[in-house]
Symmetry: D2
Subunit: 374 residues, 4 copies
């Protein structure tokens, strides 16, 4: 069986999630090639060696530049901090490697565009890790929309709110600085809901009207000196949306949404029905159909099961529940099928560029106080 050697850069929360998924995916799915946890890069040799042992990689290096050029590596998997995505991806592309990168693709649309053009010029394949779209319930939502079951879409409401920066005593970190994060909540979690808005509706967001706010403008310096430094990007953002198919909608995103831990949620309203989803209950979808006797109409709670996308590969019985890491396992399946097969990769760099364009448009709209085209 063909193998696909993976070179992983970065072993934080996301790097570990990738490693788990790489190990499990070939058993969950019948893959056309075997992904191999081959080479791992971290900031120094020692950490790299330890992480390789922990995460089950064959080889380790303290130099990511060596990794991207390593002849054995087929796919460079970038889980390093966001501000490094561009340099790493460009180096990998230059070395002719396929690239699998975490989201957001880049800090700005300009950077993302450069990455897209490089990848397309070199003919390498790319995939960006917007993993929530793989969830069985969200794939089901898309299927329901596409089938016309809820009629023509008339409204999209989305949010991705978390509260990881609610505490004002939490010091400045890479999230809060322009140079390392680009946009704030809008880029970090908002990117998910912007991508998902297009994925779910099958329509493009054509124009946005945005509003951003830095709720806690100064935070303690991370050096423990007791001094304060400036937060350079948004803590919360919201936008009205126009889609190219006529649909309207709105999104909301925050990193100071006190109480929300995994606050990705959407409501899609059509002329004949509606869908409600909340990632905090990721294995269920609420579906309403405007049909049948009036006294029997209500939102049904559908638990994901073998009839729904990709679920049967995880369990033969309904309602057994998928978890966060299962989304990544599906993503690995898509990666492998996209690279060794003919299946288009979604979202590739070009698609991920759209997310950066939308983020930029929301920021520009906020500055200008006017609708801005994407």
């Amino acid at each position: 069986m063909q193998t696909l050697n993976i070179g992983l850069i970065g072993t934080g929360f996301m790097g570990k999630a990738h490693a788990i998924a790489l190990k499990a995916a070939p058993t969950v799915f019948n893959l056309p090639a075997m992904p191999v946890c081959d080479l791992l890069a971290e900031v120094d040799d020692e950490l790299a060696a330890r992480k390789a042992r922990e995460l089950g990689f064959a080889r380790a290096t303290g130099d990511w530049k060596a990794l991207v050029k390593d002849p054995e590596v087929d796919v460079v998997d970038i889980c390093a901090p966001n501000f490094l995505h561009k340099e790493m991806a460009l180096a990998a592309i230059a070395a002719g490697k396929h690239v699998y990168a975490e989201k957001p693709l880049a800090l700005t649309a300009a950077d993302a565009l450069e990455m897209v053009e490089a990848a397309e010029r070199e003919g390498v394949k790319t995939l960006v890790g917007f993993n929530y779209i793989r969830n069985s319930a969200t794939q089901l939502a898309r299927e329901i929309v596409q089938s016309g079951e809820i009629g023509e879409l008339i409204h999209f409401r989305g949010r991705h709110n978390e509260d990881y920066m609610t505490d004002p005593a939490k010091p400045l970190d890479w999230h809060t600085q322009r140079a390392t994060a680009g946009a704030g909540a809008l880029g970090d979690v908002g990117s998910h809901i912007l991508n998902m808005a297009e994925y779910l509706t099958g329509q493009r967001i054509s124009e946005v009207f945005g509003q951003l706010q830095t709720v806690i403008p100064r935070r303690p310096l991370p050096d423990g000196s007791g001094g304060l430094g400036e937060v350079e990007n948004d803590d919360q953002a919201q936008a009205l949306l126009r889609f190219d198919g006529g649909l309207i909608g709105n999104i909301e995103t925050s990193r100071v949404a006190t109480g929300r831990k995994m606050g990705l949620a959407y409501t899609i309203t059509g002329t004949k029905g509606a869908i409600i989803f909340d990632q905090e209950r990721m294995s269920e979808l609420q579906l309403y159909k405007h049909e049948g006797p009036e006294g029997r109409r209500g939102f049904s709670t559908l638990l994901v099961g073998p009839e729904h996308p990709d679920y049967a590969s995880f369990s033969a019985a309904p309602g057994h529940g998928l978890g966060y890491n299962d989304q990544k396992i599906i993503e690995i399946r898509d990666l492998v099928e996209g690279i060794v097969g003919d299946k288009p990769l979604y979202p590739d760099f070009r698609e991920a560029l759209r997310v950066n364009l939308m983020i930029d448009a929301v920021e520009r709209s906020h500055a200008e106080g006017a609708w801005v085209g994407v």
Copy 2:
């Protein structure tokens, strides 16, 4: 005991709700005066007589103009269609009567202003029936906000979505025409959430950015001819909000939100906690406090009980549940206490004018594509 003779105009859904509440309120509460169902007006004498019997009014008339001048009547209670509010209220005010009117106060802010000025000139007392703010759970939400329990407010999200016009075969009616309704969903149900946004946060909405859409632009004529006529106002609307205290937020409203029956809901986020409420589960409030051990933090479901505003007058035991009409009973208590006592009436005509100003601002913003001050 002092009595307060009520003259009710209009006996549809809302008129009946008023009548039920007038009958029950004196038993639920210890009122400073006894409201009396005295005179009822309908479109003709016969209907008026029948409705007076059904709703328990002592006298009936087919002429509302007689009602507003009737010397026995202390308070004119206007439950007629919205487009009649102005003429009726002005006539009642001219006759020196206190006025209790259903929402929205008027079709436009200009009309509302005329009504406010007339009432203030004549020194009559006024109350407008934004009944959802009386609900025990919503009063509790306000109490929690005011007490500082959830810290400084940073985000308000509200919606009032229903689906009473989802069916495209539903003919044109008074809701859909400018002359009889003014704004569409925005005026009819959106007015509730706009008023509530200010009531709950204790802040004024200073600027709005709005977007409106008529989803079903043409509907069957009500004459059954099979012809189609134009819908003249919005089926759905949304707006970003700036409050004068620095808070930001957004609202959404619709009459074609397929599946939503009583879709009034809000999320209020503060620096130390958050509140979530949904009118479809009107007797519970979700409360999150960012305190205590991390592993024990979550939204608590508070069932309304005797510790919460006005509940104890309905039941001595927690969780017994209030209903829609109970909100009106509380409103009647406020009416009576405001008219015979010193308590300020909220929302009076001047406060209700704000709702019209906000509606106008949203419409203007939509037309201009820019933030508009209220």
Copy 3:
């Protein structure tokens, strides 16, 4: 219009609920007779007079024995403590009055039987206030069962748990003593779920296997002396059930179910569907139908609306929510229609006797450790 003069005995929580409902019912419903709040009895003249003013009764007396014989009174409405039901009802029956009594009918089945026989001998009409069965959602559940929509019934699960005695520092009171309460949680709240089990399923409970427990066997004396006294009845109880139609099931009841405020709930499973209800969300019913595509099956949340039993009399629009007192308003409608019309009264004394028989059977089964027939 015919009038029906009500003589109310007892003005605690339940007495007030009756008064509210008596005032509102004629406006909510088109009744065949007008119930009149005529005479009110309390423990002394002064309290009676004050309560009559507060609750809107025309006359007052400190002597309930005068009330039951008063020639103007048509219906004696007993809201006094449970241990007084028997004496009062027998006196009222002897005076030829119809009797409307709160539940449980009596402290023992023997007492209840005496009351039934007296009422039937004298030919007076009777109604017992098991109000939760009037709730629109529960009436809908019954309608669904009767229509066969969920097939043949195979399982009934019910509970009525509250936590009003959770605090061990709460002193002994009438609930805890055999002479004043009979059974404990089983009689006080369990009586509701036992009655409802038969109401909903349309089957009779033929045999029970019960288990009772006094969780807090000694509580402070109510005299504040600091001494402890014995709790004489159950704090929690549970039973397995056999119905005469072949159905099996179980019930649970408690007054120390920490956290549960209005914990009346049931799940009815049939061969083709199922129903779930929770009184804490009294205006919604969950319905599952085992039909249609497998991937679209789930429990639907039905909000009560005008298509459902009795709702339209309260509101013309769906999802507006009924409250606890609305159940009592429906009960008053049934009382009036039963007394002046031909409609059978349910549950009358004979039906309420069944509840006492079931309670006795559960207690006997507990003592004997064996199935006991009802």
Copy 4:
């Protein structure tokens, strides 16, 4: 690093779940030894070879008897149908292998006892796959109980209901026959809730009173002949429980609970609080504490997060959600730590025997109509 060679027998739904977990566990956790997917047995060589490829095992055999004796195999992992557990486990034990078996351990308590005694005699280690107890939320529930946070336990309510046999057209299969399944729903899914009742409460079930029912007594023969055959065990069962610590409770289990897909749920009530859990929402726990101001008490929804047992190994951020297979990953961690370390394995064969004893006691109680000791 030490390795632990796994010999897997059976590759249905559960066999695949084991394989996925074996692959992922070493990356999720820092294990003291590396479990190796070494040898796989299926009913014939060809299927075994194909399944070994699919599930990632190094070697394959069509003869499970060869597997249990294979010198390279350290642990025999039994995922074959229940009626084969005994023979396979005894053979594995005789060969000196550690045994990891799916639940229920055996068809009868007598068989289970034979297995326990063999394992203890040979000194091999054992583990039985009651995977739901590994779920982070359920481990948290146990932690809360043990810490005394909800006081002394006073009631346990559990159920495990599913509807996989609801359709009467579903033919007889191994589940329905005594010789292949032993008990019906009670053994298949009821075994989970019986084990969990003891795991969660820390008390032993000392006596049960049970009731069983075969709802669909005859089903189509699996040969397609159109003939009907007898269902030999229970479709649904329920029992009242007495625990050795004084706690009482009840359980319910079904395979014909129309509408329930993963209906494992429990409510644990203590003197100071309560816990509610539903496996259909497996990543959340409802917690009530009877403390603080009365108006702020309610059930809190705790989303599992890094503060809760085992969660941090899967994700660094709260609310990301675990899935069914993650439970098995935790089970593998426990298996490896139990076999190569000092940690006691729970539930081992002796503990699993208790489940068989409880099942037997429920069946006996049903037959005798009396309480039966476990």
